[in-house]
């Protein structure tokens, strides 16, 4: 017998039952790799820590997306875009995330335009600015 959380609602489940773990979570290898990048070299991560982070991060995606979805619903739009995600972050109190993400979006759009131009010339393009953005974000020690 499965114990489905506090709520009896199955709205979140596509097939009325538990969503398969591989569909419900991000891959544990990728999550583990990202965790390792921020840890000192000799540190280790237990399996349960990785699985805990898997749950946590999937929940975070749902939380922010849900807020963005509500905005789209009120404005009668069907497509959630980058600005909606940034708005949702700010609304939920993740101001330190919203600001860099807006800058990311701005540069993303610049790169997209450049990329379309460069495609015509068949040249490569560097994503260094994105790295810089994340680097600054990490170093600033985002706090809520």
């Amino acid at each position: 017998m499965e114990d489905i959380g506090g709520s009896s609602s199955n709205d979140n489940n596509n097939n009325g039952g538990i969503i398969k773990e591989q569909d419900r979570l991000l891959p544990i290898a990728n999550v583990g790799r990202l965790m390792k990048r921020i840890l000192p070299q000799n540190a280790k991560i237990s399996k349960e820590a990785k699985e805990t982070m898997q749950e946590c991060v999937s929940e975070f995606i749902s939380f922010v997306t849900s807020e963005a979805s509500e905005k789209c619903r009120k404005e009668r739009r069907k497509t959630v875009n980058g600005d909606d995600i940034c708005w949702a972050l700010a609304t939920l109190g993740f101001d330190n995330y919203a600001e860099p993400m807006r800058r990311y979006l701005h540069r993303y759009r610049e790169v997209e335009v450049d990329h379309n131009k460069v495609n015509l010339q068949e040249k490569g393009n560097s994503p260094e600015e994105k790295d810089d953005e994340l680097f600054k974000l990490s170093n600033r020690g985002v706090g809520l």
């Binding site: 489905i4 609602s9 237990s46 749950e55 946590c56 995606i61 497509t79 809520l144």
Partner: protein, 141 residues
């Protein structure tokens, strides 16, 4: 470049699938919407893990465990996450113990561990967040 980008981010297809699970069936997600979420969630992992790492460092431990992640969430202000994740860990450990007992009893190495139930935190967290309504954000159109 491709390898760096792959190492840096979580697979966008998986991120997108999780976003879709919370959206109404008719909703769509733009490519940039997926990419912003991809960046954001990657940073979130680093943020929480960094906090957990500091705790391990101070306590002279080398292995980050589930409790450290819970502590980090609480320390960073994600109390609703910490509570729900704490309950998850409890059930996780129960499931692990049951697996061990079952394996001992039947000596069957092929038994699959039943995954803990999903958290369904979004609903709970939304309700709590909405009680003290957030001040309207400054939004430049």
């Amino acid at each position: 470049m491709d390898q760096d980008e792959q190492d840096r981010a979580l697979p966008i297809a998986n991120v997108s699938r999780i976003m879709k699970q919370i959206l109404p069936p008719s909703a769509k997600i733009s490519k940039e919407g997926k990419q912003v979420m991809q960046e954001c969630v990657t940073e979130f992992i680093s943020f929480v893990t960094g906090e957990a790492s500091d705790k391990c460092h101070k306590e002279n431990r080398k292995t980050v465990n589930g409790d450290d992640i819970c502590w980090a969430l609480s320390s960073l202000g994600f109390d609703n996450y910490a509570e729900a994740i704490g309950r998850y860990l409890h059930k996780y450990r129960q499931a692990e113990r049951e697996k061990i007992n079952h394996d001992k009893k039947y000596e069957n190495p092929h038994i699959n561990r039943a995954p803990p139930p999903p958290l369904l935190l979004s609903r709970v967290t939304r309700d709590k967040v909405e009680n003290p309504p957030p001040s309207p954000p400054n939004q430049s159109g």
